[in-house]
Amino acid sequence: MKTTVSMTINGAKQSHEVEPRLLLVHYIRELAGLTGTHVGCDTSQCGACTIHLNGQAVKSCTLLAVQCDGAQIKTIEGMATDGNLHPIQNAFWEKHGLQCGFCTPGMIMSAAQLLERNPKPTEQEIRHGLDGNLCRCTGYHNIVKAIQYAAETMAAR
């Protein structure tokens, strides 16, 4: 039995018939066609699927699409504006905060929430704030540096 869900993703209205068991992440990837949001595990541990749901960073693998009817969603594809990278995206680039790039979208979405709540985080606060996101390439060193740099550039704006 399928049911219709509608949501706004990165400002664009989406409406699709879905099975009730469809996860939000698969809705975003397969039906909305936004493949920047990744799936790295099946136990909500890795955070590669992190998106913003009504302004909150959440793991889109822990929600059913039908739970998000009417929601406002922002994915990694919605972070840059008018072709300009978001300061966090730019900071990850400047500080080499990514290698294979697979965890990166989730990291950036988590970092955005982290800096929104705490615009001047300490290194320890950043590390704690990334608890829900796994990276296997960087050893987190440059991800932490990138978020520190993003905090500085965002404060200077």
Partner: protein
């Protein structure tokens, strides 16, 4: 040669914008018309006979396209083993098991659906009649009495017995040595866990008889060769293998696996494309695992602390089948590294490889070299304690003196160039070693347990001279290809057989080309990971891309320059022998004003109206580089830890790494790889470990909830520096940087914890990871002894 401007500079990565904006192109992102979706039915048992597989009910499910079992795959052969050892026992490893399953996760059927959900629902209904047998997963018990026999061809589950070094000389050294130390060292099983799970999309086009396979591969040509020639028996030139953006590999994506093989076979049966993506639990169960050694290590020393002999006896767990390069890892990538950076009187190493009912074990970042480094560096600290010497003093006393071109070890290898003292000196200066020891002593009086551990490591990378590895059992050559295609308008497309899955080749290789051709980086494109576009290449593993792949590109650049000189000489009415090239211009030696820019030469090559007689038009060169030796990066790492005496919890206070990877193309990228490598090695020391339940053979650590992949808060920032000793092996002078961190860090951390507990009489900890529970027990045992 043009003045180097970009080599050595921390250029921001050119590949990053697509990853930062969600526009990466990973295998699971691919959508094709008519796509179907695959789910594999897998064994829930560690060892079981397949009595029957009933798919009738599953086939009636809505949305099922097809279901195949091993019996349907007529004429399909075993997955091959690409590295042979003398008397190696090679059991068959069919893409879908049809007689028996030999580890949890062994695939027995593929269910293909119109949607992933349809396939999943139907897979639930495939009924396998299992006859469950006893299993053995434990490395030590595999060849022991009473263990279940896993393969008919391998009595006592022994795949091979191998040795290297001089047994007689080693025995003699131990007989006369005044100091002998012996320890058991368990190097536990790890799972690579690239964050992108393995995936593939296979498509067959009946009209042309051609396949395309997108697959998470570190070496698409190797994947194609093994799959076509050995397993499926289809012509290689009819198959295009594309490894698009790949989300990390760490070795686990080198190998040919069951799933892409079955999907490539099945797409021809159903004439529709098939996508399969592993769930993380499948990754844990089926990605080749790493390490899993049990070793007895013995070191003989003189009273002055000189190493007289090193004897190592290792049992290596190979898992249920031989993965693609499995036999090489605990032998030629392990035993040959046991000389370390030290002068040793004699070395002997025996390795026994055993089958168990576990996931196959193969190369994981470092592959054999971390196990060797761990055994050496742990035993060096044990020896220092036995000699009542500072571990730094013992290391320095035994360092091989500086050499520029060749040091013959006692275990077959000839090191390229080395100067082992300076990295350690730098580390000690960064640490302020004297001050640390004073603080440590002061802390101990207050019950504070802090410790420092060192690791002065070496590794062999830039894999590898084909003749050498061929004589050692490799069934492949290990050269690399590099094609440089100059467009008529002066842009350059470079095709490399190396594959980037995080290494940043689109940047570093462009740095090499831009410098050597004296043209802007933005006129250069790097193409990799596509057998349809790139000349046959061997791929990326063993820290070989810059050194072997980069040199192949450089060779093609040099050919381009030679041809360009002829064209420019003709235009300038000069002799080609009088021509030189610098800063993007061909010029007459001594008269730089008489020059032709690179772009004009390119255009002339394609519009050859005014052109040298007999010279072929076009400007495109291909080279294949086979190195003359491995390269040997080295360095010194130090880790400072604090152990909580009440809970056994280990906190890393500082981590210092000074590496020598030869010349550096992009320091930012090298630092990044060192950071990531350290994290993986630290994680082995403290947290990670794949655990099987002895009784049931189940993989207990089958998810990120059970397997402790490190998170940001568990780690610290790393302090890094370098020394640069160029290798004489290749013209770039680069050694390799992908694995040093992983190889070096594990012993540094364990040595630090042992040092922290040394005051309690602890001189060794047998097994990793050093979880709070394990360390707490050691503290309790040490207290009980006192």
């Amino acid at each position: 040669m043009a003045t180097a401007k970009l080599i050595g500079a921390s250029i921001k990565r050119r590949e990053d914008p697509r990853f930062l904006t969600g526009k990466g192109n990973y295998t699971d992102d691919l959508k094709l018309a008519g796509m179907t979706y695959a789910i594999f039915v897998r064994s829930p048992h560690a060892n079981a006979k397949i009595v029957a597989i009933d798919t009738a009910k599953a086939r009636q499910q809505p949305g099922v396209v097809a279901i195949f079992t091993g019996k349907d795959m007529v004429g399909v052969n075993s997955l091959p083993c690409g590295w042979l050892l003398p008397e190696l026992k090679i059991p068959p490893h069919m893409p879908l098991a049809s007689d028996a399953a030999r580890c949890v996760g062994d695939p027995v059927a593929i269910v293909i659906g119109e949607s992933l959900e349809a396939a999943r629902d139907a897979a639930e209904l495939v009924a396998v009649d299992w006859q469950v047998l006893p299993s053995v997963t434990n490395t030590e018990k595999a060849a022991g009495p009473g263990a279940v026999q896993i393969h008919e061809v391998a009595p006592n589950n022994v795949a091979f017995n191998w040795e290297i070094g001089d047994a007689a000389a080693t025995d003699a050294a131990f007989k006369s040595a005044p100091i002998v130390t012996k320890k058991r060292i368990v190097n536990q099983r790890l799972v690579a866990n690239a964050i992108e799970p393995r995936a593939c999309v296979a498509r067959y086009e009946a009209a042309t008889g051609e396949w395309t396979l997108w697959v998470t591969s570190q070496n698409p040509h190797v994947h194609r060769l093994l799959m076509c020639a050995f397993v499926l028996g289809i012509p290689e030139h009819k198959v295009r293998v594309i490894a698009p953006d790949v989300g990390g590999g760490f070795g686990s994506k080198i190998f040919l696996y069951n799933e892409e093989t079955v999907c490539t076979w099945a797409t021809r049966e159903i004439k529709r494309p098939i996508r399969w993506t592993a769930e993380r639990t499948e990754s844990f169960q089926t990605d080749a695992h790493g390490r899993d050694h049990i070793t007895d290590a013995e070191m003989a020393l003189s009273k002055e602390g000189k190493i007289l002999g090193f004897r190592v006896t290792t049992t290596a767990n190979l898992g249920a089948y031989l993965s693609t390069f499995a036999p090489a890892v605990p032998t030629y990538l392990y035993g040959t590294l046991l000389n370390g950076v030290y002068e040793m009187g004699a070395i002997h190493c025996k390795v026994s490889g055993v089958f168990t009912n576990t996931t196959p074990v193969d190369a994981y970042r470092g592959a054999g070299r971390p196990e060797a480094c761990y055994a050496i560096e742990r035993m060096i600290d044990v020896a220092a304690a036995a000699c009542k010497m500072d571990p730094i003093e013992l290391r320095r006393k035994n360092f091989i003196p500086k050499f520029d071109n060749g040091y013959q070890t006692k275990v077959a290898l000839t090191y390229d160039s080395g100067d082992y003292g300076p990295p350690l000196d730098k580390v000690l200066a960064m640490l302020d070693y004297k001050k640390f020891r004073a603080e440590q002593a002061a802390g101990r009086t207050q019950g504070k347990l802090i410790g420092v551990g060192f690791s002065t490591y070496i590794e062999a990378c830039s894999i590898a001279p084909s003749k050498v590895v061929g004589s050692l059992g490799a069934q492949a050559g290990l050269w690399e290809s590099g094609k440089v295609q100059v467009q008529p308008t002066g842009g350059v497309t470079v095709f490399t057989g190396s594959h980037s899955h995080g290494q940043g080749h689109e940047t570093t290789m462009a740095q090499i080309v831009a410098d050597h051709l004296g043209i802007p980086m933005d006129t250069i494109d790097i193409v990799h990971g596509d057998t349809g576009r790139v000349p046959f290449g061997m791929g990326t593993y063993g820290s070989r891309s810059a050194s072997v792949g980069g040199t192949a590109i450089l060779m093609s650049i040099n050919k381009i320059k030679e041809k360009g000189k002829k064209i420019a000489a003709h235009l300038l009415e000069a002799s080609p022998n009088d021509m030189d090239f610098a800063d993007g211009k061909f010029f007459v030696k001594g008269s730089p004003e008489k020059n032709v820019p690179f772009g004009q030469v390119a255009l002339t090559a394609y519009v050859p109206h005014n052109y040298p007689e007999g010279l072929e038009p076009g400007l495109e060169e291909t080279s294949f580089y086979d190195p003359s030796n491995f390269c040997f990066p080295f360095g010194a790492h130090a880790c400072v830890v604090e152990v909580d005496p009440d809970t056994g919890h280990v906190t890393i206070l500082r981590y210092i790494a000074v590496d020598d990877v030869g010349n550096v193309i992009n320091p930012m990228i090298v630092d990044g790889m060192v950071h990531g490598g350290i994290a993986q090695g630290v994680a082995q020391a403290l947290w990670e470990g794949a655990v099987y339940d002895d009784a049931s053979g189940q993989l207990v650590t089958g998810s990120f909830m059970d397997y402790a992949l490190p998170r940001a808060e568990m780690l610290t920032s790393y302090e890094t520096d370098r020394t640069e000793t160029p290798t004489p092996v290749n013209p770039l002078g680069v050694k390799g940087a992908g694995e040093t961190g992983t190889i070096a860090s594990t012993p540094a951390v364990v040595n630090a914890v042992v040092d922290a507990l040394a005051g309690m009489g602890v001189d060794h900890i047998e097994a990793m990871p050093l979880t709070s529970e394990r360390v707490w027990k050691i503290i309790q045992a040490a207290k009980a002894k006192k």
